[in-house]
């Protein structure tokens, strides 16, 4: 599983990545993390609000820092 965090690197993006890592650890699954900071790439997912979460190339959520529980639902 490839999990991408889209965002310019602001505090919210870091928090989302942290939560996503926790969710992965709690579910005990294997996942690779990637940060997407280039605006061209961010917009190519149709994202207008950062941070956004992409799981296996599917956009799951944008514009909010999801909680660990919420992220688990998307994995």
């Amino acid at each position: 599983m490839i999990i991408k965090i889209l965002g310019s690197g602001c505090a919210n993006c870091k928090k989302l990545e942290e939560n996503a890592k926790k969710a992965v650890a709690e579910l005990g699954i294997e996942a690779n993390f990637e940060k997407v900071t280039d605006y061209k790439d961010i917009v190519s997912y149709g994202v207008m609000r950062t941070p956004a979460l992409v799981v296996d190339e599917v956009l799951k959520a944008s514009g909010s820092v999801l909680s660990v529980e919420d992220i688990k639902k998307y994995l």
């Binding site: 965002g7 917009v43 190519s44 149709g46 207008m48």
Partner: protein
Amino acid sequence: MSVFINSWFNDQILKMDWLSELIKLLVEKVFKLSVEDKVGAGVHFFIYDTIKIIILLSIMIFMISYIRSYFPPEKTKVMLEKVKGIRGNILGALLGVVTPFCSCSSVPIFIGFVSSGVNLGATFSFLIASPIINEAAFILLLSKFGWKVTLIYVIAGLLIGIIGGYIIDKFHLEKYVESFVYDIDAKETIVPDMSQKQRFHFASTETKSIFKRVYLWILIGIGIGAFMHGWLPDDYLVKVAGPENPLAVIIATIMAVPLYSNALSTLPLAEVLVDKGMAIGTSMSFVMATTALSLPEMMLLRRVIKSKLIWIFIVITTIGIIFMGYLFNVLELYNLI
């Protein structure tokens, strides 16, 4: 009758005079200080203002966020794609007020708009109006100056956005947008409709996050305001920034622009400044200028717009704010607000 209800609403609900009386009792009976006194007045202002702002911010940001859950930027973009000309500027400015976004999203929003064909002028109307009419500033204004001043503030902010975007449109400044923006093939996103439960959830998380972001600045502002209550000499301020000084608005605006980061702390200050004799328009310009032009946002936008257009954006907004300040001062002079 309606005048009575109106003033009761302003005084008891927005300004919370009942709370002021309650805190006065606390200061006088428990702390044994007189509110006529410098220290007593400062303590009263600090406690009363803090409680009032916490109550108002929590309730009203929740309500505003709920309304905003109906206007995600993706939907805003679709609405803006369809209109052209001045109507695009009007709609852009209006949507700028109701569409929620934090300044770290201003670049993806800009790219999303422009690359999908939204007119550059309408995009700027959106980008100018959005930070000027800031939700927390709106609420603080309502509680300190009543609905009339707040309404004019909103209308003035909208006009600055509309006219600013219109000028950018007329001068065909598209050449100052980094060319890669037009090459991006932004994918359409389908925004799933939210259930009522999700909207409430959105509103409560928004409230929490806005609160976390602003409370420290507001406390600092109230603190300085409380201090000024006792120690700032009235006659000095009236002389420097009172209604008599024709340059006061310009000075207040230019001074405020680099203060961007603690925008919201300026509103508790504005109330004290107006009490001490500063003209309302001058203090409004000060407040607007601190929220409208944020340096971090300009730096982010620099990645998609060339410096020249950023400067045009700054100049238009600054002139707009100065103009609005004078408008308020004239209205105040003729007792219209």
